[in-house]
Symmetry: C2
Subunit: 223 residues, 2 copies
């Protein structure tokens, strides 16, 4: 296939960015990079006119987006029936403090993907795709883990969604102040970043509970 | 009203957490704290059976959630007509590396709110509510900004949504390894946190372009 023709998503009524259209991107590379740089997505679907939204983890191979959940969850059951899903992946890169309220903004990278997921039921394919998730989260960890059991495979619904339409929107600029650029206050960007803190080793069986630093001090023995 | 009765959301078909129900919370304090601790939300709605999802900024006063956008945007126009919205606020607190794939998880705090937004049209109320947003993002900044113009007020659609139903879901635990707790690999939590980097002052009118650190090196003069 013509590389040029396959490298961008076509614009149509559901993926076209109308407001701030100069920040819109439809090329696969921009969309895929945003998807691949985070493991948190939000999945939206609707049931009888009621919109639902579920935060979950995702990964990608080629033009396919994957996510999973309990086979008994509403989301997995509903989407496995051939219903539409819309998936958003968003990075917040900074708070943009302009000299007017109107120009105050956020620097971000956002990708929205549209499609109709299906359930991966073939067990070999299911295992292959689940490994891809771990290769993204923690390379080489999959091979070290206690192997999946048949019961775990049966309990886990894995959805595969060919990305039919997609668009990215990116802001990575200083304040867009226009005529108020001389207004005499500080203006600029507060960059925001996600960082990893020092790993906290899990307690051995019967070991002491740990306090979690940034996380509330839950009693892990209850879980 | 009875404080006890008003301090929790009632459980029903749309907000009840069925999977991992022990992690579910319905009290207003837990839901509100999650909402207030971030400015990024995702808004889901549906148009003729097609789910849409929009990442945007939100704020809260009492049981009302607010967000805004261009008055011409699809989201604002559609929701201003009395259609349902579902809003999600999610914090990722850590990657939970268990000794099995099945127990591998994420520490998170998530709130989902259901309601039917309306447009705030009274100008005094509009200004009062917009100031609340700035009081959350950057206290005392509103008073310093170049005042809003009438044109900016007309261009900005402000939505107000009484939170009809809501639920929170929280995981803040070490790996939930069961029988595999003796499997001989490292397991634990990699805490994740959002941090502010050093502020980057905006260029003065005609000043030099800045490089953004974590952000791509866009040419700000194009914006």
């Amino acid at each position: 296939m013509d590389q040029q023709k396959t490298s961008a998503f076509k614009r149509n009524d559901r993926n076209r960015i109308k407001r701030g259209h100069k920040r819109g991107h439809y090329d696969q590379k921009t969309v895929y990079d945003i998807i691949d740089s985070h493991f948190l997505c939000h999945v939206a679907y609707e049931v009888d006119g009621q919109p639902f939204i579920v935060p979950t983890s995702h990964w990608r191979e080629g033009n396919k987006l994957y996510w999973h959940g309990s086979i008994k969850s509403q989301m997995i059951r509903h989407l496995a029936k051939g219903n539409s899903a819309t998936v958003s992946v968003t990075h917040i890169d900074g708070l943009v403090l302009a000299r007017s309220a109107f120009s105050t903004s956020v620097n971000y990278r956002s990708a929205i993907c549209y499609g109709t997921p299906t359930l991966v039921t073939d067990k070999d394919e299911w295992v292959r795709v689940m490994k891809l998730f771990f290769d993204k989260l923690a390379p080489e960890r999959w091979e070290q883990l206690r192997p999946m059991t048949d019961q775990e495979y049966k309990a886990t619904g894995l959805l595969e969604m060919d990305i039919e339409d997609a668009a990215a929107k990116v802001r990575a600029d200083p304040p867009g102040d226009g005529e108020e650029a001389d207004w005499p206050i500080w203006a600029g960007v507060i960059p925001l970043d996600i960082v990893e803190r020092a790993p906290i080793k899990a307690p051995e069986k019967g070991g002491a509970p740990l306090l979690h630093g940034i996380m509330p001090a839950y009693d892990w023995k209850k879980s």
